[in-house]
Assembly symmetry: C2
Homo-oligomer: 381 residues x 2
């Protein structure tokens, strides 16, 4: 068992720090108690610092897709025209939810691995002035691509539409300034940069988004924002919350805020930069033309079986990275540097990649990727 | 700190066994791996034994209300006539969900603290042959009342309607035989007799229920059964599951099945019986005319402030039991004997009740309730 330690380096669920794991081993507390209300108060305040917003951030017992649905059902109505940016699997998910609710979705198709052009979104909004909402993504995890939400927001801000951002994988890894950029709904989830197990999601609504809530006619109950809004004011939740995960959230948020949210983001940027340098050092190519801080998508080189390479990295070297999803299956690898990830995690992932490439017969100089990563990591810039 | 230990004896979330807590402190595993699929396979099989069904049991990252909504949105259509049994807060919840989705709900109003009369449900079905679904509850936690699902099922079984049972608090504490009784949808949740933290829910559909799925026109995405059905067959989940809670579920299910599901139910019945004897021994009255295994609802005696009594039990004696909800606030206490609960838990709860009653000036003979409980517990029958 030479490679006997497991490394979780997929873009979610991500590794959970030991101190956060241990929080889950404490006796469960009742959710209608002053103790739990105090925890809710504290995590709600801390979440605002991560979202960079003064709006309340609601905590749902659901995974990210549930929170995406929450954003949509509370603000849209049957037949509403909306703009959906589709450049990967999570853009597709917005489209599927919009279709499930009978919205009239205008689709901005973006080539997978590219980012949407903010000006284009402005053009869509001019062409279709009846668009009620723009659904997009902070970091399209399936292609390893960052979207420029700050510039997109400039085009949406002065239109009648709200800007809804799936920041599930992106938040706390990439910068996102909900209030100052003018994002109307931000959706996030526990199992990414928050360094928690999956099962919790977070949603914040701007005043403009709340303006649509009264007009919305889509049915919902568990995901109806009105219950969350009322409960928030009394430091509680409308339905039984995922108590143990909320207790863990308190610990992970205090770790993030102790490091400083902007330092956490800079760390992610550096890990990503080192990973990109390493990938090039090994002689491989990046998949995305606008890569970013969550995970790095790498093209599987010609002549190599991507599925076999991935299995070797996972099974022989015990490093769990991800492959491509949907039409990218077998064509890319995705190395996450997300959440509880530091410099040597990049070294481990690149080392496993180098050895597995060699195993698969690819002409790689062992150490070439690690050397390139070290050059970035040692300098720290 | 004479009373320095905390006892969680509310009807959910319930106490989590130490070995189950520790499962959550293990490193997180990725959900798209053979290891996790094997866990899903195992818990899915075990859940069937608890539900007493051969139907698949789906696992949702949501609390019980989300699973109730799942049951309804997948089987009903706009304007459908349905029968809702409302005899407490959780019957009301079915009604609220039905209203949110525009169903035409016929309400069978049951006095709070009483159980519905199965024959009456038969009469409703005869009077309204277009009823598509009957929504009811195994154990109405808000009033401490058991509903006779076996007999109710006899009336629904041969009608065109499906029988949908919220067994969130009841399952594994009260008997429920999904297949042999002919229940069409059973909804359950982690934080009750499953001895887990909140955040997971479970839903099973019969063939008759699946027959309605194709005809249903209510919109849903996160709660759409089709995704769960497909994923189930490949030992996965449609969206990121609450991994750590599922890992904990494996441990709690093996504890339940090692004791034997019917032994677990008998244990609950005995704890409930001892609690009822103790309540009478203290000189108090039961609230429900058909009490049961989940929690025992006790009338706050004349002249005693129910809220003050409850606070004293919780704050001075550190025993977390529950008060009344909605219109029963201040009028009843609810002592749970649910999940990870054994004989001495009843003794502790009754002892706290006796002392708190004395503190509040109620003429109670200290030890009278405990003695009555001991008589039942020592005999074990």
């Amino acid at each position: 068992m030479l490679f006997g330690k497991h490394y979780l380096m997929a873009p979610g669920p991500t590794a959970v720090p030991e101190s956060v794991l241990l929080e889950a081993a404490k006796p469960i507390i009742h959710h209608r108690t002053p103790d739990f209300s105090q925890i809710l108060w504290s995590v709600s305040d801390d979440l605002k610092k991560i979202f960079k917003t003064r709006n309340p951030v609601y905590i749902l017992a659901a995974s990210g897709t549930g929170a995406m649905e929450f954003a949509l059902v509370n603000t849209c109505s049957n037949g509403d025209r909306v703009l959906v940016v589709v450049g990967g699997k999570f853009g597709e998910r917005w489209l599927q939810i919009a279709k499930a609710y009978g919205l009239d979705a205008v689709v901005y198709e973006v080539e997978w691995g590219s980012a949407p052009i903010p000006e284009k979104i402005g053009e869509y909004l001019e062409e279709h002035p009846d668009i009620k909402a723009v659904f997009t993504t902070l970091f399209e995890t399936s292609t390893g691509t960052t979207y420029d939400i700050e510039r997109i927001a400039k085009y949406v801000r002065h239109s009648g539409a709200i800007l809804v951002v799936d920041a599930v994988s992106g938040i706390a890894a990439c910068d996102l300034q909900m209030d100052s950029w003018g994002v109307d709904i931000v959706v996030a989830s526990s199992q990414k940069a928050f360094m928690l197990p999956p099962g919790l999601s977070f949603v914040a609504f701007s005043k403009k988004a709340f303006g649509l809530v009264e007009k919305s006619n889509l049915p919902s109950y568990y995901f109806s924002v009105s219950g969350y809004k009322d409960a928030y004011l009394s430091n509680t939740t409308p339905f039984t919350p995922a108590v143990s995960l909320v207790v863990q959230l308190k610990e992970s948020l205090s770790m993030i805020l102790e490091e400083g949210i902007d330092n956490v983001i800079s760390r992610h940027a550096l890990l990503a930069s080192a990973t990109r340098a390493a990938v090039k050092g090994v002689g491989l190519e990046l998949f995305s033309s606008n890569p970013g801080n969550v995970c790095t998508a790498v093209k599987v080189p010609e002549g190599i079986d991507g599925e076999k390479l991935l299995s070797r990295i996972k099974d022989k070297y015990k490093v769990t990275i991800s492959g491509g999803q949907g039409k990218l299956k077998g064509k890319i690898l995705r190395i996450a540097h997300l959440g509880y990830a530091y410099a040597f995690d990049v070294i481990v992932a690149i080392s496993a990649l180098e050895m597995a490439l060699k195993d698969e017969g690819y002409p790689v100089e062992l150490g070439s990727g690690v050397r390139a990563a070290e050059l970035v990591l040692r300098e720290g810039k």
